[in-house]
């Protein structure tokens, strides 16, 4: 169905794909795996006509094809379910399902009745109970994902690409999805399935291709590869090498920061967590489990509806980011570009941003001192850049992340929270970030790492707290930590 030959694609400063060749047959579910930043998303977009490859050819349905755009690819039967939703929040569910393929009557007008009926039927076939007339913005994230999937089935789809479709759904919904996908496969649809969850890949897929740093590493049929082999192919080295051993690990100190019964509207429903000096705690769970919201609330960046933050045994009143920073708490947010960095500014300004008062109050701002501080951080975190005045926008993802970590490591004397700290960064930067975490812990700082990567949680954490649907479902001590145990807690059915 689909045959890629020697696809290369670069962006200013990054080589995203190098000479990737790949075949996907009709009636096959083909897994695409690789670490974050391995090039999966770029490859998806090339197949879907969003990007034109710099080199190489795309053969689709037996013909060499150059898509004019995503609409062109869609017309020929290529449908992608992206990780970020492609939904119009202020249109109804039914309208979202049929956008681009509107149901029309003989006069060429929108047939609202048929739109509604067809949407209802489609959703029912999926066993999804969503009102087709509800506005998408009013749906839960899981329901939005189901709408995305329902959208794909409207069309005469020949190739379906799913990018992390189970990131925000669980249990029964996953079963329903797999069932649908298997039926589509029987109908001769070619399916590319991108996922981090290896267990899903072994349960669902026929073949698996591995991407690493933009290169196609291997393609194997699913029964000729083991889980460990797959991980080794993705990472290109043993896990033990990737996660540095913390040599100076000693018994953790006292609890420095604790959150008690935190509620954040809709997302966190009474979660508590304790963090000890010098200990690296992993916070695991599915995307949407409320981990990021808990972190933001602990930092004072979003309001707690109820609950409290206790620092050194005293409850903090009037929590705000400013107050949190003064208390020695730092937060490396998940969305580096959207939230963390001021992309238009340089390294020095980004490093100093959380402690501007340190460089002078009122009119004076000591730029020379800021520059010296930035130079120090660049050296100690090995940030690759021309100097303190390099704009962060021209730097690689890994180095941007190091800038962000450097900013917060400076001010975090009690607790540093890192939300998906290694997402989209190269392996080198990853190792560096792990090293920084160890260093901070050695200095007696409590470290809380939120991660969706099980190997990372297992490899780095000295204790793991697991969340699901806004509540803490369990805690694992060092000896209890395993991928299976984490998954068990992360997907555990909630009582009541």
């Amino acid at each position: 169905m689909l045959s890629l030959q020697g696809i290369s694609k670069g962006f200013p400063g990054v080589k995203a794909l190098t000479d990737v060749s790949l075949d996907v047959a009709a009636g096959e579910i083909h897994a695409l795996v690789g670490e974050n930043g391995a090039g999966k998303s770029t490859l998806t977009r090339v197949i879907a006509g969003v990007f034109q490859p710099d080199a190489g050819t795309v053969r689709f349905d037996g013909r060499e094809t150059v898509w004019k755009g995503p609409g062109d690819a869609k017309r020929h039967g290529v449908h992608v379910i992206y990780q970020e939703f492609v939904l119009f929040p202020h249109l109804s569910v039914a309208e979202n399902i049929f956008v681009g393929h509107e149901r029309r009557n003989r006069l060429g007008l929108i047939d609202h009745g048929r739109t509604r009926r067809d949407a209802k039927e489609l959703l029912a076939r999926f066993g999804i109970d969503i009102d087709p007339e509800a506005l998408v913005r009013d749906l839960s994230v899981a329901d939005q994902q189901m709408v995305e999937i329902a959208k794909a089935l409207v069309h005469d789809v020949k190739l379906l690409i799913l990018d992390e479709p189970t990131a925000v759904i669980s249990g029964r919904e996953v079963d329903v999805l797999f069932d649908r996908l298997r039926r589509l496969k029987q109908q001769g649809v070619a399916i590319v399935y991108i996922s981090h969850r290896l267990e899903e890949i072994f349960a669902l897929c026929d073949r698996v291709s591995v991407l690493k740093d933009g290169n196609h590493v291997a393609t194997r049929t699913i029964d000729e590869v083991t889980r460990d082999q797959l991980i080794a192919l993705m990472v290109g080295r043993n896990l033990a090498e990737l996660f540095p051993v913390r040599r100076s690990a000693k018994a953790p100190g006292p609890v420095v920061v604790a959150a008690r019964n935190v509620e954040v509207s809709g997302r966190v429903r009474g979660a508590s967590i304790e963090l000890r000096a010098g200990e690296i705690t992993g916070l695991a769970g599915m995307v949407g489990a409320g981990r990021s919201e808990l972190a933001l609330a602990m930092f004072g960046a979003i309001p707690m509806r109820s609950g409290s933050l206790v620092v050194d045994g005293r409850e903090v009143s009037g929590l705000s980011p400013r107050r949190a920073i003064d208390l020695g708490i730092g937060l490396v947010t998940e969305d580096r570009k959207g939230q963390g960095l001021a992309m238009l500014l340089d390294v020095a300004a980004n490093v100093s941003a959380s402690t501007l008062n340190e460089f002078g109050r009122g009119w004076r701002f000591d730029r020379a001192r800021e520059k010296r501080v930035a130079e120090q951080e660049i050296a100690s975190y090995r940030i690759a850049c021309r100097g303190p005045s390099t704009p962060v926008s021209v730097m690689s993802g890994g180095n941007q992340q190091k800038v962000l970590v450097a900013r917060w490591a400076r001010t975090s004397t009690r607790l540093l929270i890192l939300d998906e700290p290694t997402r989209g960064v190269d392996v080198g930067a990853k190792t560096e970030i792990y090293r920084i975490m160890h260093e901070l812990a050695d200095r007696g700082v409590a470290v809380l790492m939120i991660s969706s990567e099980l190997p990372e949680i297992v490899g780095m954490s000295e204790r793991v707290v697991v969340m699901r649907e806004g509540v803490v479902t369990g805690e694992l001590s060092k000896s209890e930590i395993s991928e299976e145990a984490v998954v068990e807690l992360a997907t555990r059915r909630l009582a009541g």
Partner: protein
């Protein structure tokens, strides 16, 4: 019908409940006016309010479309000025020229609008800046054409603005009303209409879905230019002649009814019915203030306060952390 959950009528669904605010304001104003003067709540006065709404209605209709896509058209005032001059200048009192000139002016309006759209799409510059620039260019051309009133139109030309159907119902305002209903139908019941909402709601998603965003944008700005041209024809009908600053106040004035009617500047939400009610609100407001014997200067103050009130009620959703 199967069992259905209780919900607002479709006409009000999708955030259109904002219309209730405008309706409430309209009723409030009406009660206020009626309590001030016996002559206020008469059919004659209401027909007067209706008649006065035509010009603002026509230009706001096009403006609503551009705002629904997340853009804005700041060139409408200049376009109205230039085309009003061309209308009276080219007709030059000749009865026979009326139809060809009016047709030509409407086409020209659409073309200027389309040029706005093409520039926005081709350069990627924000519509505010593009239409600010094209507005200046068009205004310059208008001033090159003449520094004062140009040409004239036959007496009968005033029928558009002052003519009435039996019962004293204004022709111009009724044409505007009909166009609003037509555009509302178009927005709700055609593919392109729904896609206008989609591209305003999330342009990035529209691109990924392969919607013809660029083509729709060009069409929307062409429509805005067309309605500005129609406004120009209306104003010539009203004042018998076109002038280089006839439309100057309409650029910003055309935005008031749109936002008061609940259409968000961010795009993707709102609709032309809200704008129509917003137009009537402005018209009724001016009428009420006349009855209250308030200096016309204060009408501006009140209009500004109404905008502040309206936009404070319909708070635009903020991009947040969670």
């Amino acid at each position: 019908m199967q069992t259905r959950t209780l919900r607002l009528p479709r006409f009000l669904a999708g955030g259109r409940a904002a219309l209730l605010v405008v309706v409430a304001l309209l009723i409030l104003l009406f009660v206020l006016g009626a309590s001030v003067s016996d002559r206020f709540a008469t059919t004659g006065n209401m027909l007067n309010v209706y008649e006065q709404s035509a010009g603002l209605a026509l230009v706001s209709l096009g403006q609503t479309l551009t705002i629904l896509t997340g853009g804005i058209d700041l060139s409408v005032g200049s376009v109205i000025s230039l085309l009003s001059m061309l209308t009276s200048g080219l007709i030059a009192g000749d009865e026979a020229m009326v139809i060809p000139v009016v047709a030509g002016v409407l086409v020209l309006g659409a073309l200027i609008g389309a040029a706005n759209g093409v520039t926005i799409v081709a350069t990627g510059v924000h519509p505010l800046i593009v239409t600010l620039g094209t507005g200046a260019i068009v205004q310059g051309v208008a001033l090159l054409y003449g520094l004062g009133p140009v040409g004239s139109v036959p007496i009968s030309f005033d029928a558009f603005a002052y003519g009435t159907f039996p019962g004293g119902i204004s022709i111009g305002a009724t044409v505007a009303l009909a166009l609003f209903l037509l555009v509302s139908f178009f927005l709700n019941n055609t593919r392109t209409g729904r896609r206008i909402y989609a591209i305003g709601d999330d342009p990035h998603a529209a691109d990924l879905m392969g919607l013809p965003r660029r083509r729709i944008l060009v069409g929307v700005y062409a429509a805005s230019g067309f309605f500005a041209a129609l406004t120009a024809v209306y104003l010539v009908s009203r004042f018998n002649v076109g002038q280089p600053y006839t439309g100057a106040n309409y650029t910003l004035a055309s935005i008031t009814p749109v936002v008061v009617g609940g259409t968000m500047l961010a795009g993707g939400r709102g609709g032309v019915i809200g704008t129509l009610l917003g137009v009537y609100l402005v018209s009724l407001l001016n009428n009420t203030l006349n009855f209250l014997d308030i200096s016309s200067h204060y009408q501006l103050v009140v209009q500004g306060l109404v905008i502040i009130l309206a936009v404070s009620v319909y708070v635009e959703k903020q991009r947040g952390l969670a």
